[in-house]
């Protein structure tokens, strides 16, 4: 029986190998390609497992987890397209994520009618910041929003002349720009880093490492929390977060960081340990910070306000923390 299958299996494997060799070389390096393949296989396995579980136990719908898996399919497919086409296209995609996140932030906070033009100026920082990131002009990239736009926005605002609510308006705007644009733009700068700094596949591999670990960390903390979570770790901010979930998730993330580091990064074993801890705890912090902001504004998680446009802030919350943290960790060590 087994021998009868050996021929066709070998034939099929050969055909697949030839097909892969015939494919045009993708923009991203081989290591990233294989990790993407790993993502698709992982998602396929999870999807199949859920389908089997549902067949065996039709009473339970597994709806929440099915929705999560479905959104991960979308994310992985979109990420493949965003990274696989061209470098400039990847940067435009990340800039668009920044734009939608900043737009969502502005839609949630109170704004003053007088500041219409100031808000327009704030938006104008997005194309400039991503142009600087894409061109690899580090000196200007790193000060443009924290220095130039930090000064320009209150300047524009004071020239309009409305003093009522001035400090609140300018403070809210600066925080949004730092979180949604400056922080996230570090992902784009990873793509502009010199190839030589990472022989394992340049900036694309680093970006992939960062985003994959951050997303995986979210899931790992969620799953660990569901399985063994008991003690609440931030009861007043996010009652769903447990110490066991946090530590379990970080442990899984660190393990994965160590496993993937030789493939995708120039990091040594100890460096990778540090990167894993940074992404594990950083992702948690980014998550609860955005949660705290939403609570302050009176928006509950999964509120109807995010129906339809999916709530991008909730998707990138961990990255607002891990992107700059990981970037400067790697930049300090290897560039």
């Amino acid at each position: 029986m087994a021998e009868a299958w050996a021929g066709p299996v070998e034939k099929g494997a050969n055909a697949i190998r030839q097909g892969i060799e015939a494919l045009p070389t993708p923009v991203f390096p081989q290591a990233v390609g294989y990790t993407f393949l790993g993502c698709y296989i992982l998602l396929a396995v999870v999807t199949l497992t859920i389908a089997l579980l549902r067949r065996r136990n039709p009473a339970r719908g597994f709806n929440e987890i099915r929705l999560r898996v479905r959104s991960f399919w979308f994310i992985v497919i979109l990420a493949t397209l965003a990274l696989g086409f061209a470098r400039w296209f990847s940067i435009v995609c990340i800039a668009f994520i920044s734009f939608v996140a900043f737009k969502e932030y502005l839609s949630l906070i109170p704004t003053r009618r007088a500041d219409h033009r100031v808000l327009f100026w704030a938006y104008m920082a997005i194309p400039v910041q991503y142009l600087l990131a894409g061109s690899g002009w580090y000196g200007l990239f790193i000060i443009f929003i924290p220095v130039f736009w930090f000064l320009a926005l209150p300047m524009r605002m004071v020239l309009i002349g409305e003093t009522r609510g001035f400090l609140r308006a300018v403070g809210l705007l600066q925080f949004g720009l730092m979180t949604c644009v400056f922080s996230l733009s570090h992902m784009a700068y990873l793509l502009a880093l010199p190839e030589a700094g990472n022989p394992q596949g340049g900036g694309v591999a680093l970006l992939f490492y960062l985003v994959f670990l951050t997303q995986f960390n979210d899931v790992a903390q969620y799953v660990a929390g569901k399985l063994i979570g008991r003690r609440k770790v931030t009861p007043s901010v996010h009652p769903g977060k447990t110490a066991e979930g946090l530590l379990g998730g970080v442990a899984v993330t660190v393990a994965l960081a160590l496993l993937l580091a030789p493939w995708l990064t120039p990091l040594s074993l100890y460096d990778a340990l540090g990167a894993g801890l940074l992404i594990g705890f950083g992702g948690f912090l980014g998550d609860i910070i955005i949660t705290a902001i939403k609570r302050d504004l009176g928006v509950s998680e999964g509120d109807s306000l995010t129906v339809g446009h999916g709530g991008i802030l909730g998707r990138v919350d961990s990255l607002t923390f891990t992107a700059p943290a990981f970037f400067h960790f790697v930049y300090f060590l290897h560039y």
Partner: protein, 222 residues
């Protein structure tokens, strides 16, 4: 302009202007989309805060219906200059009405009657003007006149929030904000006018629009 050319103009306006601005730059967040009329004749009555309101309303309908979706707009504003008038009539597809009625004029709503008789969907801003951004104003009674003449035509109240923040009166460049749209349940002359009273009908329309808006937690804006 022959009808098919006008339809092409309206699709061009939808695809090149309304969709990019409302779906990419702004972002629409529509509740109860299924309450929108599938086909005409029908009247939808959103609140009015911004020039962008009309664009936002157009994106709510399937593209195929767009040639039959007609925003009702003030003649004194949109037909002021020849170019704006030509563009408004052919690309936006407005039905111009006179806001102030002269002594010698015919019924200002005559074109609306004709449009409803042809089975078109009218977009009427019952506030009549954009006014203060994100503040509802008293409603004009034109909708009640139309509803009394066409008692079977559904009148769908709509509440929108965000467009006044994105482009208030006096601003010329839109600033991106997410837009929230609440579609209300269709009203009908027979049920909501309490035996044919226009004032009662307008009062219940105003109440329905206000209730739609009250459901929404809005950040302050002033």
């Amino acid at each position: 302009m022959p009808p098919f050319l006008r339809a092409l103009c309206r699709w061009a306006f939808l695809i090149l202007v309304a969709w990019p601005i409302c779906l990419v730059v702004l972002g629409m967040n529509v509740r109860h989309r299924n309450r929108l009329p599938r086909q005409g004749p029908a009247i939808v009555t959103p609140n009015h805060n911004s020039h962008l309101d009309t664009l936002a309303m157009l994106t709510l309908f399937p593209w195929r219906q767009i040639p039959k979706v007609r925003p009702v707009a003030a003649a004194d504003y949109f037909l002021k200059t020849g170019l704006l008038g030509w563009f408004s009539l052919n690309f936006v597809g407005i039905i111009p009405i006179a806001r102030k009625r002269g002594a010698d004029q015919a019924d200002p709503l005559a074109e609306c009657y004709a449009a409803l008789a042809r089975g078109e969907i009218l977009i009427i801003f019952p506030e009549g003007t954009r006014g203060e951004p994100e503040r509802m104003q008293e409603l004009k009674s034109g909708v009640a006149v139309l509803a009394s003449k066409f008692p079977l035509v559904p009148v769908v109240p709509i509440f929108m929030h965000g467009l006044g923040r994105a482009m208030p009166r006096g601003a010329f460049v839109p600033v991106p904000f997410f837009v929230d749209v609440y579609v209300g349940q269709a009203m009908q002359w027979g049920q909501d006018s309490a035996g044919g009273d226009k004032k009662t009908f307008m009062a219940s329309l105003a109440t329905n629009m206000r209730i739609l808006g009250e459901k929404h937690e809005r950040p302050e804006f002033d």
